[in-house]
């Protein structure tokens, strides 16, 4: 048997926005993208070739699923136009669909099923036509039945509607609760408890079933995880925090002594599934990118920097001229002398006196894109704090101050930078 997945980009568009996924089928449910559950079901149903047809980009799914060798099946990809109906799509894929029965899965993210049930013989006896139809999505089969026999008892099969974040939330809980029905990722030596690779659970931390934990996860002392909690990969739950009835997606950090109850966490954003309200958590570990705050005090700041730079230019004019006469490379050519010409740029407004240095960090892999857009500066925050000048540490200090900077702080830090013995 073959299977045709029809995915329209207009369907499920909300789920991409909610979870910042490239494709709705790549949103994870219980640490596994929707597409894998669909593949599991199609394989249980006896499909040996699957074609994914979309009116949008198929490249993200192709990058994830490849040619299907991981599942021992053939996966191919095709395009359609948004206005194409099922009949037209079958026609466009007639080479794929000919000479075989085809299970058509249309507009569906998830099918409730049971890996122990025998879908194969049930489907092969089923007459051509629709199987389940919930309006937004459907399951149907084309081609004459291969076996002429009575249709056996219908195994578990239903399509849940996933139309808002709360639907997703309750589906996650239901899927975890019925974990034995699905092929779920992670090591599982007792039902309802799935643990991934490289998971550190510190002394005094407590895990309450049912729970699912991904890879590279740290649960710190005194933290309580569960019940009914799904934790993705690269997640840290800090000391004495409680996470219950919640979903923490990949790359989430939960700080100390927090209580997370019935929430969805992703990065530093917490969403309440019932109301859809979101909350941004303080992000001291900088797992998300820094955004420059809206610069209301920009003009004032500019003025402060320009004035301070003018004062320095006047003050240092003579020493600079005197020291410039000395041959280059001498140790007494200190920071302020080297950077003296830059002060004029501060007066002109193209640079800041103090800020993120961000000089050799163009190729850095840390998320400093937003910082790069800020104006360059003569002194770095990290320098002012006399932080060791290793790149990553300095970057963290720079990030911190970029986020929390104000004209007043700038003055303080500029003075700090100037009284730094290395400067003079």
């Amino acid at each position: 048997m073959k299977s045709l997945f029809i995915v329209r980009k207009s369907e499920h568009a909300w789920i991409c926005r909610q979870f910042s996924a490239e494709h709705p089928l790549l949103v994870t449910l219980c640490n596994k993208p929707f597409i894998e559950f669909l593949l599991d079901f199609a394989i249980l149903a006896g499909a040996d070739a699957i074609r994914i047809v979309s009116d949008g980009q198929t490249a993200p799914i192709e990058a994830y699923c490849g040619n299907g060798s991981r599942w021992g099946i053939d996966i191919s990809y095709a395009h359609m136009r948004p206005e194409d109906d099922r009949e037209r799509i079958m026609e466009k894929n007639s080479r794929f669909c000919s000479e075989d029965r085809v299970l058509i899965i249309e507009g569906v993210l998830f099918i409730e099923h049971d890996k122990h049930a025998d879908y194969r013989s049930w489907l092969s006896a089923l007459p051509e036509g629709g199987i389940v139809d919930i309006g937004s999505g459907s399951l149907s089969i084309s081609g004459e039945p291969t076996k002429d026999m009575a249709v056996p008892f219908r195994p578990l099969i239903s399509i849940p509607a996933i139309e808002c974040v709360n639907d997703y939330f309750s589906l996650s809980a239901a899927t975890l609760g019925a974990g034995t029905r699905y092929i779920l990722p992670g090591y599982c030596n007792e039902p309802d408890c799935f643990i991934g690779r490289n998971v550190v659970i510190q002394k005094g931390a407590e895990i309450r079933k049912p729970v699912m934990i991904g890879n590279n996860v740290q649960i710190m002392t005194g933290a309580v995880i569960g019940p009914a909690t799904i934790i993705g990969s690269n997640v840290i739950v800090d000391r004495e925090s409680t996470v219950k009835g919640s979903i923490l997606l990949d790359n989430t950090f939960i700080g100390e002594q927090l209580e997370v109850d019935r929430k969805i966490g992703e990065g530093n954003r917490l969403t309440d599934p019932a109301s859809g309200a979101t909350l941004m958590m303080e992000d001291p570990h900088l797992m998300s990118a820094i955004h420059q705050p809206a610069d209301a005090s920009g003009l004032l700041r500019q003025l402060v920097h320009s004035l301070a730079a003018t004062a320095l230019v006047l003050l240092l004019a003579l020493p600079w001229l005197a020291l410039r006469m000395l041959p280059a490379g001498r140790s007494n050519r200190n920071i302020i002398i080297e950077r003296y010409p830059l002060l004029f740029r501060v007066i002109r407004g193209s640079m800041r006196l103090i800020g993120s240095r961000g000089k050799d960090r163009k190729n850095s892999e840390t998320p400093d894109m937003h910082i790069r857009q800020a104006k360059p500066s003569v002194f770095g925050y990290a320098e002012a704090e006399q932080w060791p000048e290793t790149d990553s540490d300095a970057l963290i200090v720079d990030h911190y101050y970029t986020r929390h900077a104000s004209p007043l702080k700038d003055i303080g830090l500029a003075i700090k930078a100037l009284i730094n013995p290395k400067t003079f």
Binding site: H79, R81, K92, N93, S94, F96
Partner: protein, 107 residues
């Protein structure tokens, strides 16, 4: 590049073969210029070894002409290399793409 045109079931079938780049695009454009904008046309890409944006441009130009002349244009048998160019440029959203020449021609 080789261009072979045949008439089948009231449709014009244009089979392309070889490399479809800027060197070949003028030849293809010239050929397509002479075709009837109102007749249903299927372009068979089975034997296209390579296509780049210049080749795609010739197809897009032809499609535009077809749309204004209210004729139809279908593409058949895109191999993975061709599909990749359609995917990157999102040209798939303009064309009707069939995996079988017979189905594209219709009964």
């Amino acid at each position: 590049m080789n261009i072979v045109e045949t008439a089948r079931n009231g449709a014009t079938v244009i089979s392309l073969e070889g490399i479809l780049n800027a060197a070949a695009a003028p030849q293809l454009k010239a050929h397509l210029e002479n075709s009837d904008p109102a007749s249903p046309t299927v372009i068979d890409l089975t034997n296209v070894e390579f296509i780049d944006s210049s080749g795609l441009g010739a197809l897009v130009g032809f499609l535009r002409k077809k749309k204004t002349g209210s004729g139809s244009l279908k593409l058949a048998n895109l191999n993975n290399r061709v599909k990749r160019v359609f995917e990157i440029t999102q040209a798939y959203s303009l064309f009707d793409v069939y995996d079988d020449l017979e189905a594209a021609i219709g009964k």
